[in-house]
């Protein structure tokens, strides 16, 4: 263990290399440029491949190719670039290829701006591209998590043969914080047990990596298998952090950078003996419904919820679907570079 | 001495082999194959050169050549 100072972007890049990622392809876009720069500098030393691709499309399809032959592969981008990558993500979901995609979100729609935002929540948690599929989505809240979530993301990707999205934002990417890094490689995982990978057909029948099924009924069968997998993931992989859920009368729901601000608000209100809690979804898909069930069954009382986002009511939908009308849900959202402040949150809670 | 064999059921009847056989030994067959196509057939007159032109141009790998 070593304590160092790093930006969230660099921490994600270093975390990926520590996780055994040996292929990175990306295209420059702010505010995530520290990731490709770090990869360009460090991937060759790790014996991996770094490619600055000619486009976001090329980058994600390079990741497709690297993943198809069994390498731990990743790309990173920011919102407009992630929109372009959706084609490749859909193909990887269809071909069941494991890979990690980092989205350091910025303001939108369109070219938007380069300030932090969380408005890619829908794009990440719903099938962002065409077809019925899901990516596993993890949302780090601080730099240590940005680092720690990378091995988790690669493990999940391999375990379920599914793309995993790390959903951060410009604030997380650019913030510099001290973090603990492992000094010995924690994973020696490349190509182990990937019997489906393309390696040349020596001693076996040829492998085919594809998402195309023309014969009547075949694609439906593939979809049913995918749905079964998603159901398993939903049951097993919900992740969240709960704060003061035992006695809270108001529970804020927030993730990523927004959750940091909400945590500060919760702590300030607690100092004044206000019974406020926090649910911080860490896995955005699967959405941590269990966190809400816990509140309902344990407390058996009416708790009010406040969803806070750096977007205009995207995660709000998942909270409402989860609560299914059983509790009052308030909302505070800003985007396009605007970030709800601690004071705004506190004043909103007072009005609930 | 040479001859060819034709996998009639793979034949799609494009007739390219017919047009390139220097001895005119391949003809459209009467009747249809399993695909419902008028396939080609080889007329072994002993004149086959084993030149493989028919096999080389066949898009469906229907022809094997013996010499």
């Amino acid at each position: 263990m070593k304590r160092i100072l790093m930006t969230g972007n660099e921490a994600m890049a270093e975390g990926a290399i520590q996780a055994g990622c040996r292929f990175y392809a990306g295209y420059p876009i702010t505010p995530q440029n520290e990731i490709p720069a770090y990869m360009a500098g460090h991937m060759p030393q790790a014996g991996g491949v770094f490619i600055q691709a000619e486009s976001e499309l090329a980058a994600i399809n390079m990741v497709f190719g690297a993943a198809a032959c069994g390498a731990r592969a990743m790309t990173s981008s920011s919102s407009p670039g992630i929109s372009l990558k959706q084609e490749g993500i859909s193909y990887m979901a269809g071909a069941e290829l494991p890979a990690v995609i980092v989205d350091v979100m910025r303001g939108g729609p369109g070219l938007g701006n380069i300030w932090p935002a969380q408005s890619d929540y829908f794009q990440a948690t719903r099938s962002g591209g065409h077809g019925d599929y899901h990516c596993i989505v993890l949302a780090p809240s601080f730099v240590q998590e940005a680092y720690d979530f990378m091995p988790a993301a690669f493990d999940l990707a391999d375990k379920y043969r599914n793309p995993v999205i790390i959903l951060g934002d410009g604030m997380l990417g650019q913030t510099m914080e001290p973090l603990h890094v492992t000094t010995s490689p924690r994973h020696h995982v490349t190509r182990q047990n990937k019997k489906w990978a393309l390696t040349g057909c020596k001693g076996r029948t040829p492998n085919i990596v594809k998402s195309f099924y023309m014969k009547e009924g075949d694609l439906e069968k593939v979809n049913l298998l995918l749905q079964k997998k998603y159901k398993t993931i939903k049951i097993r992989e919900q992740r969240y952090e709960g704060l003061f859920l035992d006695d809270a009368k108001v529970i804020i729901v927030a993730y990523g950078t927004m959750a940091r601000i909400c945590r500060a608000a919760v702590e300030r209100l607690r100092e004044k003996a206000k019974k406020v809690g926090l649910i911080r979804p860490i896995s955005l898909w699967p959405f941590p419904e269990n966190a809400f069930r816990l509140v309902n069954s344990r407390a058996r009382r009416r708790v009010k919820f406040l969803v806070a986002e750096m977007s205009y009511g995207q995660m709000l939908e998942d909270v409402r679907l989860t609560l299914d009308g059983q509790a009052e849900v308030g909302f505070l959202g800003r985007s396009g570079g605007g970030i709800p402040s601690e004071e705004e949150i506190i004043s909103k809670i007072k009005k609930l | 001495m040479a001859k060819i064999t034709i996998d009639k059921d793979k034949c799609k009847g494009c007739l390219l082999c017919v047009s390139f056989c220097p001895k005119g030994l391949i003809k459209a067959a009467k009747g249809l194959n399993k695909r419902g196509v008028a396939a080609v057939e080889f007329k072994d007159t002993g004149e086959c050169l084993g030149c493989t032109l028919c096999a080389v141009i066949c898009p469906d790998c229907c022809v094997e050549v013996y010499k």
Binding site: L57, M62, A73, L198, P206 | L15, T52, E64
Partner: protein, 241 residues
């Protein structure tokens, strides 16, 4: 009597979905023959396109990946970089390589990726019903150029000549499937493009003028003659680089 022409090992002995007289079947076979002759079947990783040859992996008997439309060379770049010991090739049509995938094509070539590219130019989109391709000839009628392609719809794109300008490109040859003799020349070029990869020479591409009797609305033999008499005038055969 011994067999002097038989079915190649690297090609599954099944019927293809291609139309009668289509050049894809010949090109598939030539690749399989070269793979057998170079004894690289167990090392090959192919990347199939989107287009008529989308299920080429059902016909070849070696490892193969699909790629999204136009992205074959991005996929292949990564495969070769991750597994340099394998022999990696893409098989792409004119729409895939020279329209929707132009960017991937140019940049893989410009990086000088040690890849083999088999480029099937039949001047038309086959899979989707015979629309105009980037390589459609002026005056050629397609589903989307019912009066024949006009200059304002673009000139036939000579992507091979464009690629030849790039320092990363080591070998480009244009051949045709217009007669048994031209087919044999095509095989020789394919073999060269694979041998180049084995010898670490670099980016090698064979553009193959290939018949599409269905969407050229011609009997198969006439389609071959059209390649020789018309198409090869616009796309001259021979070594480009």
């Amino acid at each position: 009597m011994g067999k002097v022409f038989s079915h190649s090992k690297s090609l599954r002995n099944i019927s293809t979905h291609y139309c009668a007289g289509c050049g894809h079947g010949i090109a598939h076979r030539l690749i399989a023959e070269v793979v057998d002759e170079l004894n690289i079947r167990e090392q090959v990783i192919a990347v199939a396109p989107v287009g008529c040859a989308v299920i080429a992996y059902d016909y070849w008997d070696f490892d193969c990946s699909e790629a999204a439309h136009g992205r074959a060379l991005a996929v292949a770049t990564a495969i070769k970089r991750v597994r340099p010991q394998n022999i990696v090739f893409t098989y792409q049509g004119d729409g895939d390589l020279a329209a929707i995938g132009t960017n991937e094509t140019i940049h893989a070539a410009n990086r000088g990726e040690n890849l083999t590219v088999i480029f099937i130019n039949n001047a038309v989109y086959g899979m989707t019903g015979g629309q105009m391709a980037p390589t459609t000839l002026l005056g050629q009628k397609t589903a989307t150029t019912p009066q024949g392609r006009k200059p304002e719809e673009g000139y036939p794109l000579k992507i091979s000549e464009m690629l030849a300008l790039l320092a990363g490109v080591k070998y480009i040859e244009r051949t045709a499937l217009s007669s048994p003799q031209e087919v044999m020349k095509t095989k020789k070029a394919i073999r060269q493009a694979f041998q180049n990869q084995i010898d670490h020479v670099g980016f090698s591409l064979v553009e193959i003028l290939s018949p599409c009797p269905t969407y050229w609305a011609m009997p198969p033999r006439q389609a071959l003659d059209w390649i020789n008499n018309v198409m090869a005038k616009e796309f001259p055969l021979g070594r480009i680089k």
